[in-house]
């Protein structure tokens, strides 16, 4: 029989295949394992792709390589102990996670932070959002070969981290939020410094825009790849810049405002096609809007410390503590302490400005803790084991707009000093669930920009 007929015969009977191996036209798909340790996967994820030549036929996404037990660890300590764990969720915008958790516990307690504190939270959240988008776009640009853009954006991120360090004391993992307030007030000169830095960041963004937005190679790689339709995106539970790039205008800051976002005027950018290029444009514009919010907030933030009659002496905090331990606490009600620079912003005269007036949740200022018996009792009742912040039994779900989408915290309390259950609804979890759907049909090399625009943050995805 003819060769073709023999081959057809051979396919049905596999023992004959070997005779015709030199003429074998049988085609099989290749399985390629991308990750978990892979340069283009910023974050650890494993994508097992089935390839037909260069085209992805199916992709299975395997996560969980950074599971660190956030939810279980939160159950092992008091409410404020969850702050460091919450920082490390979305570690490029840690302030948003902090404040999201604080919002949930404050709702559970039925208290609200003071106005200045809410403005501070808005300012720091937006600065965090800018650093997140800078990292995302910088890293995905680097993976496409635009290394310069990465360096420029990280340079801008360094300036913002210096700002964050001036306020919170740390660059990245800041533990700044507290239930009922924040750790410390904004330092002096913050407004001017921020304005200058934001101007510089704007210049950097303009440079990067000139390098990327109308760049032929960038457009070729990003436009038309990683497309997802709006209906599918909603069904997958996707939120944030991803959903907005599909054309759906949903932003938690506008839909269900929290803190003082309802007083801020800003736009929510959307794009049309739901491809990688649209997501890039949405993120670039969101950075500009975030800067706008920061400037508005700085202009309208309510005035600083309430002036307490500071006719008393001014003394270094360490001396005050030593005197208190020795029992010499006369005149402590009017003393004004000068703390160490790392503890600035948390003195007594600023205490009522940045903390909610809720004695069941907020620690007293240190001048009271060391200065009078009510302060000491108050401190004891909040810190010692068996005591602490005890919200009444209940549950609450509080959502904030994270850099990747809706970041929700579901906290269940059983009346004790430890949270009974803390669940964080991670925005990039749902996006990663849709990733295999988005990769199918595209080429292998399109996996890089698509995955880059997902902005998968391992700490948030795997918790």
């Amino acid at each position: 029989m003819s060769i073709q007929a023999e081959l057809l015969h051979a396919k049905r009977d596999s023992t004959l295949i070997t005779h015709h191996s030199s003429l074998a036209t049988e085609k099989r798909h290749m399985f390629l394992n991308v990750g978990p340790s892979h340069p283009a996967m910023h974050g650890i994820v494993q994508i097992i792709t089935e390839l037909d030549g260069e085209r992805v036929v199916s992709a299975e996404v395997e996560i969980g390589y950074l599971h660190r037990g956030f939810e279980k660890m939160c159950e092992t300590g008091p409410y404020n102990n969850a702050m460091p764990y919450a920082d490390r969720l979305n570690y490029v915008s840690p302030l948003i996670n902090n404040f999201g958790f604080c919002l949930a516990v404050e709702r559970l307690l039925g208290i609200e932070a003071t106005e200045r504190c809410q403005y501070i939270r808005v300012i720091m959240s937006e600065i965090s959002r800018i650093t997140d988008h800078l990292t995302c776009i910088g890293a995905s640009a680097m993976e496409l070969g635009a290394f310069t853009v990465f360096l420029y954006m990280i340079k801008a991120r360094e300036w913002l981290w210096e700002l964050v360090e001036a306020v919170t004391g740390a660059r990245l993992t800041i533990s700044y939020g507290r239930v009922g307030g924040v750790k410390a007030d904004l330092p002096e000169g913050f407004a001017e410094r921020t304005k200058k830095i934001l101007e510089e960041v704007r210049k950097v963004l303009i440079e990067c825009d000139q390098l990327l937005t109308r760049n032929r190679i960038f457009i070729d790689r990003m436009q038309g790849t990683g497309v997802i339709a709006p209906k599918e995106a909603i069904s997958f539970g996707i939120t944030g810049p991803f959903l907005r790039a599909c054309g759906v205008n949903y932003d938690v800051r506008k839909a269900q405002p929290y803190f003082v976002y309802d007083r801020m005027r800003f736009d929510v950018p959307t794009a049309e096609h739901g491809d990688n290029y649209g997501r890039y444009l949405v993120r670039m514009e969101e950075m500009e809007q975030s800067m706008r919010i920061v400037e508005q907030a700085l202009a309208t933030i309510p005035q600083g410390p309430i002036v307490v009659d500071a006719e008393g002496r001014v003394m270094p905090a360490a001396m005050m503590v030593d005197l208190a331990k020795a029992g010499a606490t006369r005149d402590f009600k009017t003393v004004q302490t000068v703390p160490d620079p790392t503890l600035e912003g948390a003195t007594k005269r600023l205490h009522t400005v940045i903390n909610a007036p809720e004695k069941r949740a907020v620690l007293p200022p240190k001048e009271d803790t060391y200065g009078n018996i009510e302060g000491l009792m108050h401190h004891f009742k909040l810190v010692m084991i068996g005591h602490g912040i005890r919200p009444p039994p209940g549950e609450v779900y509080a959502a904030v707009e994270g850099a990747n989408g809706e970041l929700g915290f579901y906290v269940v309390s059983d009346g004790s000093d430890r949270p009974y259950r803390v669940r964080v609804r991670p925005p990039c979890f749902t996006i990663m669930g849709a990733l295999s759907h988005m990769l199918v049909g595209d080429m292998l090399a399109d996996m890089v920009p698509t995955f880059g625009s997902v902005n998968m943050i391992g700490g948030e995805l795997d918790r």
Partner: protein
């Protein structure tokens, strides 16, 4: 000239106590000192980046804190081509076999840097999912603690690594990693003492 360490003699025309670079013809040194010098200034790192420390790793690698000054600026994303394994960020038990495999795929000479306190001792993630220190799996040369370590810390650690490379000191798996009880250990809870 400070880069050439002990055992180096420089000779040339009109050599005196002062070394005149323009008059050098040739110099002698020990092979391992020269090799150490060459290796420490051309570190091909494999950044095994997992978590938040990766952000500080990026910051160290970029313009502000520039690790390229040390010759360590170009990461090699294949273990076959890398000589220093930077383990950056928490290692979970799911990822541990892969870390071990990557380490075994690297060729000698190789060094391991534990970047961040999660890789040194597990950090504050004392739970079911985290490896309490990667030195139970791979031998570690330099421990850079910090959560995350500041870029200055990282550069300090890198310089210590360079000293080790210069002198060819290798790490071995610490003996205390073996022979531990197989039961899980209860954390030392403060309320037990109330």
């Amino acid at each position: 000239m400070g880069a050439l360490k002990e055992g180096t003699r420089v000779m040339g025309k009109g050599t005196s106590d002062a070394i005149n670079l323009s008059k050098l013809d040739w110099m002698t040194t020990r092979v391992d000192a020269a090799l150490g010098w060459a290796r420490k200034f051309s570190i091909f790192q494999y950044p095994f980046v997992t978590a938040c420390c990766g952000m500080e790793y990026m910051a160290t690698a970029c313009s502000h804190y520039d690790v390229d000054r040390f010759g360590a600026g170009f990461p090699r994303f294949s273990p076959r081509q890398a000589d220093v394994l930077f383990v950056v960020g928490t290692i979970s038990h799911k990822l541990a076999p892969i870390l071990k495999r990557v380490y075994e795929q690297m060729m000698e000479p190789k060094w391991v840097v534990a970047f961040g306190v999660c890789t040194c001792t597990g950090g504050f993630y004392d739970n079911y999912a985290t490896v309490m220190g990667i030195d139970t799996i791979v031998p570690v040369d330099v421990y850079i603690p910090g959560c995350p370590p500041r870029p200055e810390n990282v550069l300090d650690g890198l310089m210590k690594l360079q000293e080790k490379i210069q002198h060819g000191i290798k790490a071995t798996l610490p003996q205390h990693a073996f022979g531990r009880p197989t039961e899980f250990q209860q954390p030392h809870r403060a309320e037990e003492h109330l």
